[in-house]
C-alpha cells in the first residue's frame, strides 16, 4: 500500500467569478431578493436548465411582469424584458409571433400571472401559444409588503387578511391544464434537480408549457405564518412534499397543513401551435 501525499482541500476556496456568470448580468448582483428567499434558487435552476438545454442563447428571450419574481429577467444576460404588471404573456406572444425563431420564456410571479394577468394566461394556454411560462408561486404579493394573493391558502395570514384568508385559492396547475396547456408541472424550489430537468423539458416542448415553482418567502409570507426563515419553509417542503407524476392536477390542491403534491402532471404530445397556424394561413393567403 502506497501513501499518497496529496493535500486535500479543507476550506472553500475564494473565487471571483461563478461558472454560470456567463448567463448572468453579474454586475447587477447582489439581487434584490431577501436572505432566505427561494427565488434565487429558482433562477439558478433556470440558468442551469438553459445551459443544459443547449439552445442558442441568442434566441432565448425572457419576459417578466412586475413583482419580486418580475425582477428575475433583469439578472439574465439574454434579451430580457421587464414589462407592466400582468402583461408579460401578451408581450411574449407578440415577440414569438413576430419572430417565430425566438424561444420565448415568461418568468414571473403568481400575482402577476394569475391575478392581474389571469385572463392572459388562460388565453395563451387556449391558443397553444408557443411559449414557456415559469410561475413562481410564493403565495403572496411580496414586493408590496405581503398582501393577500389569489394563491394565498385559505386561513393564511397576510397584511390584508389580518383575520386569516377567507378566500379559496387558485390551483394554478389545474387552471392552466384545463385551459389547454400541453405541459404542466409543479415543484418546490427544494426539488432543484427535478425542477431543472423539468425546465429543460418545458423549454424544449413545442407549445404552451407551464411550470409552477414554490419557493420559500420568509419575509412577507413566512413571517406571518410560522415560517420566519427560508430554511424552515424548505424543511417543511422536505418533510411534506410528495411526488405524483401524471395525476389529475385537480387533485393536487395546495392547502395549509396538507402535503404538497408535486410532479409532472401533464405532458401531452406536440400539437400545432399558434405560430404554426399563423404560418399556415400566411402560406394560404400568399398563394391566392
Amino acid at each position: 500500500m502506497t501513501i499518497s501525499e496529496e493535500k486535500v482541500d479543507d476550506t472553500i476556496l475564494e473565487a471571483k467569478r461563478h461558472p454560470m456568470d456567463y448567463l448572468l448580468r453579474w454586475d447587477r448582483l447582489p439581487h434584490v431578493w431577501c436572505s432566505g428567499c427561494g427565488l434565487g434558487s429558482v433562477l439558478s435552476c433556470f440558468i442551469h436548465a438553459i445551459a443544459e438545454s443547449g439552445i442558442d442563447t441568442k434566441k432565448i428571450v425572457v419576459v417578466s411582469g412586475i413583482g419580486c419574481t418580475g425582477r428575475a429577467s433583469g439578472y439574465l444576460d439574454l434579451d430580457v424584458f421587464h414589462t407592466t404588471h400582468g402583461r408579460a404573456i401578451p408581450f411574449a406572444i407578440g415577440l414569438k409571433l413576430a419572430n417565430p425563431e425566438l424561444k420565448v420564456i415568461v418568468f414571473s410571479g403568481d400575482g402577476d400571472l394569475f391575478a392581474i394577468g389571469g385572463n392572459h394566461i388562460i388565453h395563451a394556454a387556449r391558443r397553444n401559444a408557443d411559449i414557456t411560462v415559469i410561475c413562481s408561486n410564493n403565495f403572496i404579493y411580496g414586493m408590496t409588503g405581503g398582501q393577500l394573493a389569489p394563491t394565498t391558502p385559505m386561513g393564511a395570514w397576510t397584511s390584508t387578511s389580518p383575520y386569516g384568508n377567507v378566500e379559496p385559492n387558485f390551483n394554478l396547475c389545474h387552471l392552466v391544464a384545463s385551459a389547454g396547456a400541453i405541459y404542466v408541472a409543479r415543484w418546490t424550489s427544494l426539488n432543484a434537480r427535478r425542477l431543472q430537468a423539468s425546465m429543460v423539458e418545458a423549454i424544449k416542448k413545442k407549445g404552451f408549457s407551464f411550470i409552477e415553482v414554490i419557493p420559500p418567502c420568509p419575509t412577507t409570507f413566512g413571517r406571518r405564518n410560522d415560517y420566519e426563515e427560508g430554511i424552515k419553509m424548505l424543511e417543511f417542503f422536505r418533510e411534506n412534499t410528495i411526488i405524483r407524476h401524471g395525476i389529475d392536477p385537480g387533485d393536487a390542491e395546495l392547502n395549509l397543513g396538507n402535503k404538497i403534491v408535486v410532479g409532472k402532471f401533464v405532458d401531452k404530445e406536440d400539437k400545432p401551435t399558434l405560430s404554426d397556424h399563423i404560418a399556415r394561413i400566411q402560406l394560404f393567403a400568399k398563394r391566392r
Binding site: I3, S35, R193
Partner: protein, 102 residues
Amino acid sequence: MLRLHMTLRKIISFIPPEYKEQEKWHLKIITDRCKGCLFCINFCPTELLESSPEINSKGYHPPKIKDDMDMDDCAKCGFCELICPEFSIFLEKEEDTTGAKK
C-alpha cells in the same frame, strides 16, 4: 485520538491511488455574494458545511467546511451550487489533473 486522526487525514490521504477518484474537485465561493440563508449548509447530503464565524462585507456568515471534514467527504453532487440563491458557492472540477498521480 479521533481528532488527531482527522487532523492527520487532512494533510495526508491514506487512500491508495488506485482507489482514489481520478478527478480533483474544489468547492469555491464568492464570499461577498453570500446572504447567509443556510440553504447549502442545511441541504448538503454529507453535512459537509457549517456557518463560518467570520462575516462577509454584507454582514452575513458564509459557509465553511466543518473542521473535521474535507473535500474527500464531499459528494460532489453540486446541490449547494444549484440551490444557492446568490450564485455564491459552487463546485468546480480542477481542469488539469490526473488524480492522485501528482
